[in-house]
């Protein structure tokens, strides 16, 4: 209830896209364009070992031989990959040793976004206030990671990918690209060649990570793409909850965001991965600008009884192309996917999941809530597949679409493959229009039209919102409200 109230108040005080500011910060750029020398430049900038450079160059070579995928239900002009910067970083001699060394301008940006980077500030808060460690990625590089010491005490490694490559090469070499192979798809391959940073998490056997981990991504530089790579390994009986948040300034040109996220789960491990994505969606009327969000996310449940849960709230980006997937290899492993995808204005989203059942008695659950408004298009695309060995595999999929107004579109494209006779797959789908009757009913009770829309939409997405960690559920609820501002009437 309080959250609804807060949502309502929040929206009233907001502009359309509140993260649309950009910041003047001294930046280092790689020369514009993409070739093997740029790949070497990035690798050198990051002081990478030889094996990493070789990996990147191999990826770049493969990428050149690949074609962009065209099967998604999204339309956009061809991307000129030579017309972008592949490396942008705040100028700084070395990585900051502590928060005090971080450019205050950058800290100000995060403060403006409401993200606490100051551990002391978080610690000094009210008792019982949420505590979470943050890795802040600004354009191409991680600027700061908080709570590292406290996490290290229990053996949890949480650092930037660049640091992991230097400090924990054995882990990185072992797992990088083992879930999403270098040449998995066009964008993942491009990422492998030019990825600049991202987060790395390792949770040792039997350890329950004592706090939420989160990464905040911010694209700031103009004409630059962001290619981050995240790798999370939960060893036997380990547990970690991880959240990523994304924002970008308003720019007239499109910016490419091609990230790769790999999750590895051993026996009895559990990872909860939540995303609140609010990249700049482009101009709502002309469709100009906005982020192309072409992301590959995959979890590999290698261990028996391991469990992975993806929760995503997708409100931003001009185009979203994203299918967080679960490979259910371990016997009795569990995959979950909870999604809220909202499109407004001229946004296009083609998103969903893949549940690939390889092991016996594996279970998966998909709850997808798509909301379309304005002149947007929202597609759910999901694969549920059972291998011959996946005896007793079970899936439940629920896919609901809500239409607001007369000019938007919702599509549902389920793919179901059962290659043994003992699996049980259920698929439920509904499409509803936000009804005038419901709106009037709520307004007759005293809610304004905007408040009524928010209340009804919050009711529609409730099943998914409650999967988010508490402290982010409120944030997500606000986002839902903001994204749908002006969608009626």
């Amino acid at each position: 209830m309080a959250a609804v109230k807060q949502t309502i108040e929040h929206v009233e005080s907001l502009e359309k896209y509140q993260h649309g500011f950009s910041t003047d910060i001294a930046q280092d750029f790689a020369p514009k364009g993409l070739n093997a020398d740029i790949v070497r430049f990035i690798s050198a900038k990051k002081d990478e070992p030889e094996w990493m450079l070789a990996w990147r160059l191999d990826a770049f070579e493969r990428w050149q031989a690949m074609d962009e995928p065209e099967w998604a239900k999204v339309h956009f002009p061809r991307i000129d990959y030579q017309d972008s910067y592949y490396y942008a970083a705040p100028s700084q001699k070395k990585g900051p040793a502590s928060l005090d060394e971080v450019d205050p301008e950058i800290l100000a940006v995060y403060e403006k976004l409401g993200i606490p980077l100051k551990e002391q500030a978080v610690l000094a808060g009210v008792e019982g206030a949420p505590r979470y460690a943050v890795d802040a990625v600004f354009d191409s590089v991680s600027v700061v990671t908080t709570f590292k010491k406290e996490l290290a005490q229990v053996g949890v490694i949480f650092c930037s990918m660049s640091e992991a490559i230097r400090e924990h090469p054995e882990l990185v070499r072992n797992y990088l690209g083992s879930v999403v192979p270098v040449s998995d798809n066009y964008y993942a391959c491009l990422n492998a060649a030019v990825f600049s940073d991202g987060s790395f998490v390792y949770v040792p056997p039997g350890v329950r990570c004592p706090m939420e981990l989160s990464t905040y991504f911010r694209i700031n530089a103009e004409n630059s793409g962001q290619f981050e790579r995240t790798l999370i390994i939960a060893d036997k009986e380990a547990y970690v909850s991880y959240l990523e948040g994304c924002t970008a300034p308003m720019r007239d040109e499109n910016q490419l965001h091609a990230a790769v996220v790999e999750l590895v789960l051993m026996d009895d491990a559990e990872i909860k991965y939540s995303t609140v994505q609010n990249w700049y969606p482009g101009d709502p009327v002309t469709g100009k600008g906005g982020i192309y969000n072409f992301v590959t996310k995959r979890a590999d449940c290698r261990g028996d009884r391991s469990k992975v849960s993806w929760t995503q709230v997708e409100t931003g980006s001009a185009i979203t192309w994203k299918y967080p997937s679960c490979i259910l290899r371990g016997e009795g492993s569990v995959g979950e996917f909870y999604s809220i995808a909202i499109t407004n204005g001229r946004q296009q989203a083609d998103t969903g999941t893949k549940m690939i059942h390889l092991g016996a008695n594996t279970r998966s659950r998909v709850i997808s809530k798509g909301i379309s408004a304005g002149k947007s298009s929202n597609t759910y695309r999901g694969l549920v597949s059972a291998h011959p060995k996946a005896k007793g595999a079970r899936n439940f999929t629920q896919c609901d679409s809500l239409l607001i107004g007369k000019t938007c579109a919702a599509h549902t494209v389920p793919y179901i493959e059962a290659r043994n006779g003992s699996c049980v797959f259920e698929h439920e789908a509904t499409t509803t229009k936000l009804s005038e009757d419901q709106l009037f009913y709520a307004m007759q009770r005293g809610l304004s039209q905007e408040e009524a829309v928010q209340l009804l939409v919050n009711g529609f997405v409730k099943d998914v919102l409650q999967e988010l960690p508490m402290e982010f559920a409120v944030e997500a609820q606000k986002l839902v409200a903001i994204s749908l501002e002006g969608s009626v009437g």
């Binding site: 209830m1 709520a442 009770r445 005293g446 919050n458 009711g459 099943d463």
Partner: protein, 248 residues
């Protein structure tokens, strides 16, 4: 209190209200009866500002204030409440959340402070008990999976929680068995007060045995065709609406 003068309104270009005039002073309960299609529900929607019901002439004021110029939520904040003939289902929104959000929206519009959570819950428990509503039901999504009678009871619950100044009951008796009808009527009667007005729209006299009106109006052909005391309702029950329908 409510003052309607020569009100004309159309739906999809078809005129439904054709110069309706009506006065409901504070403290009184007026019943509106009439045949199907006479414009009873249209009147309730026009008074509450539903889109698609276009006013083409006349006035409607509440204590001198022009209602027709206000948005539906502004009218609600002024104290106009409509108990719907067919209450809507609101999936995913618990009844308590819905009512508290509405209550605070109204309070805010009136420049009042929000109600605190404990005060709200206390109020809700009191009113739920009076209407014999299981408190657990209020934690479920509003009206989703409720029976017709439960939905109507929930309307009266919302009404008693929001404590409006002017009540419009649209066919509140439809779908109610006799026990539910008694409970609902008691809830409505409990709200009678010298500074509150009520418009009870009904098809049947039955409801008026429980909610005793001060005046009964016959709505036919988009106008008030006759006005009388409670006896008029009994006469209508015996003789039907034929004479008024034909006159219109």
């Amino acid at each position: 209190m409510l003052h309607i003068e020569n009100l004309r309104a159309e739906v999809d270009g078809k005129e439904i209200l054709k110069g309706l005039s009506l006065n409901v002073p504070a403290g009184e309960v007026h019943a509106i009866m009439g045949p199907n299609g006479a414009g009873k529900s249209t009147l309730s929607y026009v008074l509450t500002g539903r889109s698609g019901y276009d006013v083409t002439g006349g006035t409607a004021t509440l204590d001198g204030e022009d209602l027709l110029a206000l948005d539906p939520n502004e009218r609600a904040a002024k104290g106009v409440f409509l108990s719907f003939q067919y209450p809507l289902e609101i999936p995913g929104v618990p009844a308590l959340t819905f009512i508290r959000t509405a209550m605070n929206a109204q309070r805010k519009a009136r420049g009042e402070a929000e109600i605190s959570a404990p005060a709200f819950l206390k109020l809700a428990r009191e009113h739920a008990a009076a209407l014999k509503i299981d408190f657990e039901m209020l934690k479920r999504a509003l009206n989703v999976g409720f029976s017709g009678g439960e939905k109507k009871r929930m309307e009266i619950f919302q009404m008693s929680m929001l404590a409006p100044r002017f009540l419009i009951l649209d066919e509140t008796d439809s779908g109610l068995d006799i026990d539910a009808l008694k409970i609902v009527s008691e809830g409505v009667n409990a709200m009678r007060s010298p500074d509150r007005g009520m418009l009870v729209i009904t098809h049947y006299q039955r409801l008026l045995d429980y909610i005793k009106p001060d005046k009964v109006h016959v709505l036919a052909g988009g106008r008030i065709a006759a006005t009388g005391g409670p006896d008029l309702a009994l006469e209508l029950e015996r003789e039907g609406y034929d004479k008024y329908a034909r006159a219109a």
